[in-house]
Amino acid sequence: MPKDSGIGASSKRREDVRFLTGAGNYTDDINVHGQAYVHFLRSDVAHGRIVSIDTSDAAAMPGVVRIFTGDDFAGVGGLPCGWQVTDRFGQPMQEPAHPVLAQGKVRHVGDPIAAVVADSPEQARDAAEAIAVEIEELPAVVDMKAALSADAPKVHDDLTSNLCYDWGFVEENKDAVAAAFEKAAHVTTLELVNQRLVANPMEPRVAVGDYSRATDESTLYTTSQNPHVIRLLMGAFVLGIPEHKLRVVAPDVGGGFGTKIFHYAEEAFCTFAARQLARAVKWTSSRSEAFMSDAHGRDHVTKIELALDADNNFTALRTETYANMGAYLSTFAPSVPTWLHGTLMAGNYKTPLIYVNVKAVFTNTVPVDAYRGAGRPEATYQLERVIDKAARELGVDPIALRRQNFITQFPYATPVAVEYDTGDYHATMDKLEEIADLAGFEARLAESKARGKLRGLGVNCYIEACGIAPSNLVGQLGARAGLYESATVRVNATGSISVMTGSHSHGQGHETAFPQVVADMLGIDESMVEIVHGDTARTPMGMGTYGSRSLAVGGSAMVKATNKIIAKAKKIAAHLLEASEADIELKDGQFSVAGTDKSVAWGDVTLAAYVPHNYPLEDMEPGLEETAFYDPSNFTYPSGAYACEVEVDPDTGRVTVERFAAADDFGNIVNPMIVSGQVHGGLAQGIGQALLEGAAYDENGQLLTGSYMDYAMPRASDLPFYTVDHSCSTPCTHNPLGVKGCGEAGAIGSPPAVVNAVVDALRRQGHDITHIDMPLSPSRVWAAMQGE
């Protein structure tokens, strides 16, 4: 029976009341008395040398407070990169400087050149237009392979080339993989593009820098997924402000999808300028600015080869990927095509030998970093596409080929460094076949055909590594951060609870789901628990939310802290009940002595903790507040199987998604409704990638998709009603809740299903098509049908 509260209940999202009634407190809602506004003058060329910047006319314009250029940041640190990748030859990656405002050169359209601070946003913008900038335009590099040619213009003059790193994984396996390919009975090869995406959270980025001369304290309000990380990076590496003088607040945040993880120039600028001017400085991104300054996602060009033996067992896998870094290294950019991608190449399959090569390349484009799934969608897409292609080449059923190669023994150590703790891939595939009604496909195919439409079916699996991550492991892999999480459980005198979490909610529903866990553990009502997050002054140092880590890591910290609370509360209860601590049981918010009818209520105990009149003061401190830090011992490995049915209009190439089913194994589930919602959103973004989205540059580095007129976002009418199921559960073995994470699954698992389905539809019609690159827009599908 479905529960109506606690772990497993579909409690309604309490935060939605304020979001839906306009009572949210977003960064743009924050206005500091007397604040000024900044407008960034951004480069309109992709690559150029700054010859001169003349701000004299602009500075004299009404309302202008001060104009800053790169020179003002000469003594200030650049934006740091949080992950250092070591290349195939044991050398560190090439790491260019990333100034807050351009110094010497501009390197992508949107690169900030100058910043005008004025009394109003309009005055700042007017003055920015009056700045005279002379730029000597240089040839731009846009295409990654061209960027690596010997005579390519260099994005960074002080680096040896446009190659950030050439990474091999596992380098020691390279020869063994080559040998396996020599011996293979069959090799399937596929070249594909995982196109560049723009995250497009509904709320654009905003930063408000404030400074108090009275306390010498800086405050940054910002649209961030991880305020403590911003405080550390900006305080320690950019501006040199110690943590006790720097507060970072990320209030309600309207979607992040990864792009709000990173430390951005505008945040550093507003904090810096507020100190310089002793006046708050606010920046609100326009949507146009977002397209050219928010970190983009994906942008991989890949060749993948799969070797099979005569019995269709996968024997080896080899990939070569070019990964676009853009013009600078965004905060976690180097980790995405390497440790978040190469380690997932085994997928759900027992391929014994794998070699992944990744060349990360600088180009004159917006920096690329993590976007929903980050590396794992890229891994899943190529693997699940090549398996489908192999099945066709071999004339075998694509589901059967997958099943034959499934990993079935757990724990399972992959040849790409990670060890899956649990999973049951046959069970999720069985569930998928049931909920997708694959048995009914032929009938639906006939029905489509009768309407002149080409129907196709695409199925795929996915595996992801979530709950990032064991700090000591990621440290060895180059992370310059720890990836634990923290929680403070503060029980108030009357028994209500504030949980200060280092996780950050920007749509995920933590304010609902986290209390379900704490309330369930204590047997009290969910409404007695409130979540506090997003403010370095109010929460213990935490690492924030990304990589589907909040419940697995942040939730675990909260469970640990709550267990400490329970332990102490039992001691207090034992004292009140004059019983032995070992005999105290906690159930439904009552502490009782086992085997008796003696009990005290939760509220009696919490009151005793703060009004310690009858309290073992000689043994215990008063109060009931505990903090815990949790560092996971492994990643979690959610997995699933997805099925998509499409119809293709043979006359126009237009693809419509008719059915989509997702069977996921997320381990234990705290709030099934929220989990379904996360899957729905992920599917929308994955289907969006497959059919609609794609950022495009011309050969001069001009962004062709700089607005919604040309960047196609998925709308409700582009999407079918989904069938989602998460009843297959193999709980995570190493965190206390047995949870795995669900935030990215939909975006990771769905693109290959869609593309497999379209290829299937076209092949059934006799088209000799093996692949079409995303987005599968009508014109691309039509061109493919014409043999182009």
């Binding site: 006359d651 126009t652 609609l692 062709l704 998709t705 960047y711 987005p775 009508p778 014109s779 039509w782």
Partner: protein, 263 residues
Amino acid sequence: MYAFDFEKPSTIAEAVAALKDEDAQALSGGQTLLPTLKQRLASPSKLVSLGGIAEMQGICHNDAGQICIGAATPHARVAAEVAGDYPALAALAGGIGDPAVRNRGTIGGSLANNDPSACYPSAALASGAVIVTNARQIAADEYFQGMFATALDEGEIITEVRFPVPQSAAYVKFEQPASRFALVGVFVARFADGVRVAVTGASENGVFRWAEAEAALSANFAADALDGLSLPADGMIADLHGSAAYRAHLVAVLTKRAVANAS
């Protein structure tokens, strides 16, 4: 936006007078003009709102049996009020943008702007509509003069659009995936004296009539009368969303569908 003055006259004559100022510009629904202003791509000294002029609002029939639509009538009203008399035109209006756009955007603004991907120009051209301005009446065949170009003079305002009603008609729009404007749109209108076919979205010269299709359909108003007819890719728009050849192909596909759907 840059600063501008604002006037809201209540008669056409006042509006015409107000537009005589240098760099003054008419504002109707603002669905095209306001985004342009926000991007600072235009800097009119003064906006003259046409929204307060009663004589430019609403829909009626004249003695010639034409549907007369006030130029400041929003798309949503056209969608609702001509559904019985001219369902193809109502459907076109109802398929523009989203509810907010349809409740603000106007037929006059759309025709004055003459975006090469806009819907209304195809209806006006296929219907042989008359564009009435403060100064004259312009036949649709003379009115559209290429991308964003029309026969309107400086300061001239469209006050009304008169649509002859065909025996049957249909508009088929193939949406550009991002903007949902017409990647290609075809309006087919069958009159007693012949069929008119107008194509939007496809050509670098804006909306145009497809003469071969008109001839074929005038002889035999059936989708298969178009078999074998095609347009050259030359002169078609090519962009991220479709090649010239794709657009040329879509014109033929959509024209057949429009004939099949005509009612």
